[in-house]
């Protein structure tokens, strides 16, 4: 089985790191992975994205037209990727920064106010992992626990003080995602 995930947002929102974390975790768990970034001036402010492919078989193309899942962290990303999510796929939207609802009704849409939650957790920059947690809840590819372990192994040394907060962000995102799935 192969799962393609696109994570897209403003440069600095952590889209590329969230994707790398998935790739590292996939590798740590014996899967084939590729991580393919946008590498232009977007990295310094525009909309940056990465394509992560996780597979139990050798991966051919490192890019994809219709991904199984997309995380959009801002409006330009939603505009670009909403129509591309594969039928039956997952679209996680950072509703803190996106003020319109997706139109698709043939995919799972998860709306997460990631910036507000990140702020509650004490750091705006945790929004990427809140959204990642929300996605993992809906995808049968890697568990929150596995990605938490991946984070322990691969968080840069100068961010190690944020490890617990990052794991908390993953869990909060997953919880919210689950709540939306099963309304109380």
């Amino acid at each position: 089985m192969q799962t393609e995930i696109i994570i897209s947002g403003f440069g600095g929102q952590g889209a590329l790191f969230a994707g790398q974390l998935l790739a590292y975790t996939g590798l740590d768990n014996g899967m084939h992975v590729t991580w393919f970034p946008s590498y232009g001036p977007e990295m310094r402010g525009g909309t940056a994205h990465c394509v992560v492919i996780i597979s139990d078989d050798e991966i051919g193309a490192p890019i994809v037209k219709n991904p199984a899942a997309v995380i959009v962290m801002n409006i330009p990303s939603l505009d670009k990727y909403e129509s591309l999510v594969r039928q039956g796929g997952v679209l996680v939207v950072n509703s803190s920064l996106v003020d319109r609802n997706p139109k698709r009704d043939d995919i799972q849409v998860v709306l997460i106010p990631a910036n507000e939650i990140a702020e509650e957790l004490g750091n705006q920059r945790l929004a990427n992992l809140v959204l990642l947690g929300a996605l993992l809840e809906r995808l049968d590819v890697l568990s929150i626990e596995q990605v938490g372990e991946g984070l322990k192994g691969h968080i840069p040394a100068h961010r190690r003080n944020l490890l617990e907060a990052n794991i908390e962000a993953l869990i909060r995102g997953a919880e919210l995602s689950k709540e939306q799935l099963e309304p109380a």
Partner: protein, 355 residues
């Protein structure tokens, strides 16, 4: 050793370090700059030479000088930067010193853009700078392959006293994939440098490395020597990989990133029962003419896929020699063909093949 998640540019740079590369000269250009960054950190750490030159012209001439001294030396760049190196490459070829160069191709011509492209096949594979010579050209499709080929490139360059270019596109430079790095080789000791190298003539007769042969008759002798060397390269260094060709009715020929994209399309088409296979040239010079010729004896049609307007296409046509129709699908300007696009081409070809 365990697999690590490595970015292509960092991976080939570290592979070169481990191959005992003693000196790196270069100039930053996207999409290969991470290689320069890695070398800037690693080479001084190991007591080796890293130098960011004032331009690609300077860098390749520094490479030329170091190669004359018999040390393992390399540079890397991307399309416009490599264009600037052409004169130097020709002098290096004319001097028969071993050099490794990595070219992470981007969209062109001109300044173009930084997106992945295969538009420089003709430039590198058909010779580079002026004069009668060939560049051994190796085209990786994965991060593991760019590591393995770069590591081996130094041996190949020294074996033939020739230039080896690793020709990849921006996506291989930029993507991350799990791969394993080879063991570390120490740099060559001074006393172990080649018998032709310029190491200081104290106590022995001076050696001369030059590309000047004023007398045309002498130049021709040198040219004939290069031709003889090319025959050996063509006999020994052809590399390719093949996928599902045994019973194929349609064959795709594609290299590098286009090759791995085609691999996805082949699997998709096989699921639909279409008998299609893939031949992926790894050495572009020497080109797998004979192997593609054999495939042409067996299949009904051949599809060439490139991230160019059709450059390797000419070599495939030479190999096929009119035996079967050769079709082409390419994207240009930094656009990368999607597996679905190639799959549609296969479907179309399958209808033609069985019409």
């Amino acid at each position: 050793m365990a697999k690590e998640l490595l970015k292509g540019n960092v991976a080939f740079a570290e592979a070169a370090v481990r191959a005992g590369c003693e000196a790196y000269y270069g100039y930053p250009i996207t999409p290969q700059t991470e290689a320069l960054e890695h070398m800037a950190k690693r080479m001084p750490e190991l007591g080796r030479v890293f130098l960011q030159a004032e331009s690609e012209v300077a860098a390749i001439n520094m490479v030329y000088g170091a190669a004359c001294a018999g040390v393992r030396v390399m540079s890397s760049s991307s399309s416009p930067g490599v264009s600037l190196m052409m004169e130097g490459l020709s002098y290096i070829a004319g001097s028969e010193v071993p050099v490794v160069l990595v070219d992470i191709m981007r969209g062109g011509p001109g300044l173009g853009n930084i997106a992945p492209s295969q538009g420089d096949y003709n430039q590198i594979v058909k010779g580079g700078g002026h004069g009668d010579y060939r560049i051994i050209t190796l085209a990786p499709a994965t991060i593991q392959e760019i590591i393995d080929l770069t590591y081996e490139a130094f041996d190949i360059a020294e074996k033939y006293r020739a230039i080896v270019v690793i020709l990849a596109d921006g996506s291989i430079g930029q993507m991350m994939e799990p791969a394993e790095l080879p063991p570390m080789q120490e740099v060559r000791k001074r006393e172990d440098r080649a018998e032709w190298s310029l190491t200081g003539a104290k106590g022995r007769d001076p050696r001369v490395i030059t590309s000047i042969y004023i007398d045309p008759a002498e130049e021709e002798v040198f040219n004939l020597h290069l031709v003889e060397k090319q025959k050996k390269i063509e006999a020994n260094e052809v590399r390719f990989s093949s996928l599902l060709l045994e019973d194929a009715e349609i064959a795709i020929v594609a290299y590098g990133t286009a090759g791995r994209i085609a691999q996805s399309s082949v699997k998709q088409a096989r699921d639909e029962g279409i008998k299609v296979g893939l031949l992926r040239p790894i050495s572009l010079y020497p080109f797998p003419y004979d192997e593609i010729g054999k495939v042409a004896d067996q299949v009904k049609r051949i599809l060439v896929v490139e991230m160019s307007g059709g450059q390797m296409l000419d070599d495939v046509r030479l190999a096929v020699n009119g035996k079967v129709p050769v079709d082409f699908y390419g994207r240009m300007g930094g656009m990368v063909p999607l597996p679905d696009e190639v799959f549609e081409q296969i479907q179309e070809l399958n209808q033609k093949a069985n019409a």
